[in-house]
């Protein structure tokens, strides 16, 4: 995955809460066996509505999604993350995220930023007032900045380090393969196998 330190870009306000992953990418798009081409499925049902915010030319090329609370609930489909990234998003800001979506995002290098609901709304209003507003998401400094505002956010040290280094989890775990072997040798013999 690509390393993430600081990103500056324009932002899209998505004023809806409870945006589940079925909305982010409907199931018909999940049949692909490759990892590419999912941008076409992003919010595909909503994009049919000309009034939907992503259809507003003022937000074309924006790379930060500012969404309502409980973004990415529901299905575990990582395709939701791929669709957002392939469409051009690097960051999603919301007051709360679905647990699996947030996890999937950090595995792929899409940064989920949790800010208080009132701050998210203020940021949405700011980019509605001025779609060309530049927003900076500084992972190193754990801060989101726009206009004259600067708001801190929390992220655990380990995930931050992994994102900043662009590290692959599997490679990290395999460094501890001996620990896994030791654990396996102590497992109960009656635990089931699938064969």
């Amino acid at each position: 995955m690509d390393a993430f330190t600081t990103h500056t870009g324009r932002a899209v306000p998505l004023r809806r809460g409870n945006v589940d992953t079925d909305q982010i990418i409907p199931a018909v798009w999940l049949k692909q066996v490759s990892r590419t081409g999912f941008e076409k499925g992003l919010f595909s049902a909503w994009r049919e509505d000309p009034a939907f915010v992503l259809n507003n030319p003022a937000y074309e090329g924006a790379s930060i999604l500012v969404a309502g609370p409980d973004f990415g609930t529901g299905s575990s489909r990582e395709h939701a993350v791929w669709a957002l990234q392939q469409y051009g998003f690097r960051v999603v800001i919301a007051a709360r995220f679905g647990d699996i979506f947030r996890n999937n995002s950090t595995k792929m290098g899409l940064l989920p930023v949790v800010l208080p609901a009132a701050v998210v709304e203020a940021l949405q209003s700011a980019v509605e007032a001025d779609p060309s507003l530049e927003v900076t998401v500084d992972l190193e400094g754990r801060q989101v900045r726009w206009g004259g505002e600067a708001v801190g956010f929390e992220i655990d040290d380990y995930t931050r380090w992994r994102l900043m280094e662009g590290l692959d989890d599997i490679g990290l775990t395999l460094r501890n393969a001996d620990d896994v072997t030791v654990y396996e040798n102590g497992r109960q013999p009656w635990l089931p196998t699938t064969v």
Binding site: A27, K31, N104, D179
Partner: protein, 458 residues
């Protein structure tokens, strides 16, 4: 201080713990299916990595499969299923393909084979993996990157979630099911109420549930935002497990039971959050909106958005659902009834539906889709399929079907369903489709009248 069930199972699986890092957890069982695995296998191939423990991995074809006999007509779906077959053959994973007697929805076949046992860690690239927690293990859904991680290492790095106890006191009144209970719980705590928690369901009403009912409850934990839900094992659990093909036998059984008996939350264990529900006050419950938390008792009316926690979201949901505030839910007309899914596609659910349909006729399109080929076989041995067919319902092959509409079983735009599945999201059962989540009993009674109905109303 005592420990909760979740803490005990978690600690038992920690492979490595280091300051400032997530725990590395061992995974006892990994279930895979065709939709969320192809990119993970590609990742392994690209890195030249094998599967660490193929014998702890099991695969099935469920999301895309047609529920009428014959090959998959959609070429894209067919490629996805064929890709799973190739991957399983190449990497040595046991697969239950379409047509096989062991095939079925991934969360139905694990328990049915006895692979799902107390105290285990179980993952799958599917959010309803929480189902397996009904046996007293930690089971949760993961994304494709994590699927690849588990294939390569049989572990996952994870932070231990907080613990929540949902205490359900009293007994469920007659005609009120496990599905009604979990829908009422989600309406109470909200779709985000369980975020960051492992939920342990406890109390008299939970103990009284069958294993199938417990699976229905744990299945929908994710709809309350909780990645995992669990229920401590007891005699009901042991009775269900004993003699299943992958359950321990002989001296192994005795050793396992001895360990399983330790899997309860200690008396003095402290949960981070406790939620209390009085089972005696519950009635059949249905959803009116576009998330599983937007539900109400069947005897109620469609709410006025102003009376809800989030008026804007409720108004939007009513618009999508084509419903007017104040309409009695019993007056809502339904076009299609779907019985099935990993929430309510088990034998007990089908028996309940047959009890309602026996000697009656359906007036809606009614799809009855068994959760697995074994469920289908057992239902047919009991003659349930004859009841369904005589009532005018369609009796199908096993699969996910209209739960998510990846196969040809979908709703048309504007079409309204009463569905025993778990998600009423916009477009979940087909673009523009409108879903009301219900219990199998309510689904069957609704099929008879064409309006949302409980069996007691018939």
């Amino acid at each position: 201080m005592g420990r909760t069930l979740a803490e005990k199972v978690w600690e038992q699986h920690v492979v490595r713990r280091a300051e400032g890092e997530p725990d590395l957890l061992y995974i006892d069982l990994h279930l895979i299916h065709e939709v969320t695995s192809p990119q993970a296998f590609d990742g392994l191939r690209m890195a030249g990595r094998p599967i660490r423990r193929p014998e702890l991995t099991i695969a099935t074809e469920d999301h895309n499969v047609p529920t009428v006999r014959g090959p998959i007509s959609d070429p894209v779906s067919r490629v996805q299923v064929e890709t799973l077959r190739k991957n399983c053959a190449e990497f040595g994973v046991r697969l239950y393909p379409m047509g096989d007697a062991g095939q079925g929805v991934v969360h139905i076949i694990g328990p049915q084979f006895g692979l799902t046992q107390p105290g285990m860690t179980i993952v799958c690239g599917d959010s309803h993996t929480s189902t397996h927690g009904a046996f007293g293990g930690i089971a949760f859904g993961i994304g494709t990157s994590e699927v690849e991680h588990v294939l390569a290492t049989q572990t996952l790095p994870a932070y231990r979630p907080k613990t929540m106890a949902i205490e359900v006191s009293g007994t469920l009144p007659a005609g009120v099911t496990a599905k009604d209970l979990i829908l009422a719980i989600i309406a109470k705590i909200g779709t985000g109420g369980g975020q960051g928690y492992i939920v342990e369901y406890r109390g008299e009403a939970i103990r009284a549930l069958s294993m199938e009912g417990r699976m229905t409850v744990c299945n929908m934990s994710i709809e309350a935002g909780a990645r995992a839900g669990m229920i401590a094992p007891d005699e009901t659990t042991l009775e269900y497990l004993k003699g299943r093909p992958h359950a321990p036998a002989g001296a192994d059984w005795d050793a396992a039971v001895e360990y399983w008996k330790t899997l309860t939350s200690d008396e003095d264990a402290v949960f981070d959050t406790v939620v209390e529900i009085d089972a005696t006050t519950l009635t059949p419950f249905v959803t009116w909106g576009t998330n599983p938390g937007q539900g109400a008792p069947l005897g109620a009316s469609v709410p006025d958005p102003q009376d809800t926690d989030d008026p804007a979201a409720a108004a939007r949901a009513l618009e999508y659902m084509g419903l007017a505030a104040g309409t009695p839910l019993r007056d809502v007309r339904v076009d299609t009834v779907f019985v099935g899914s990993c929430t309510n596609g088990r034998l007990e659910d089908l028996r309940a539906v047959a009890d309602v349909l026996r000697g009656r006729q359906v007036v809606t399109r009614t799809l009855i889709v068994p959760g697995s080929m074994l469920v289908k076989l057992q239902a047919e041995q009991e003659g349930l399929h004859e009841v369904f067919k005589a009532a005018g319902a369609e009796w199908r092959e096993a699969g996910c079907s209209m739960c998510l509409g990846m196969n040809p079983d979908t709703l048309a735009p504007g079409e309204r369903s009463a569905s025993t599945s778990n998600r009423n999201f916009e477009g979940r059962q087909g673009k523009g489709g409108r879903t009301h989540l219900v219990s199998p009993q309510v689904a069957a009674a609704t099929a008879v009248t064409g309006k949302l109905t409980a069996p007691a109303d018939l």
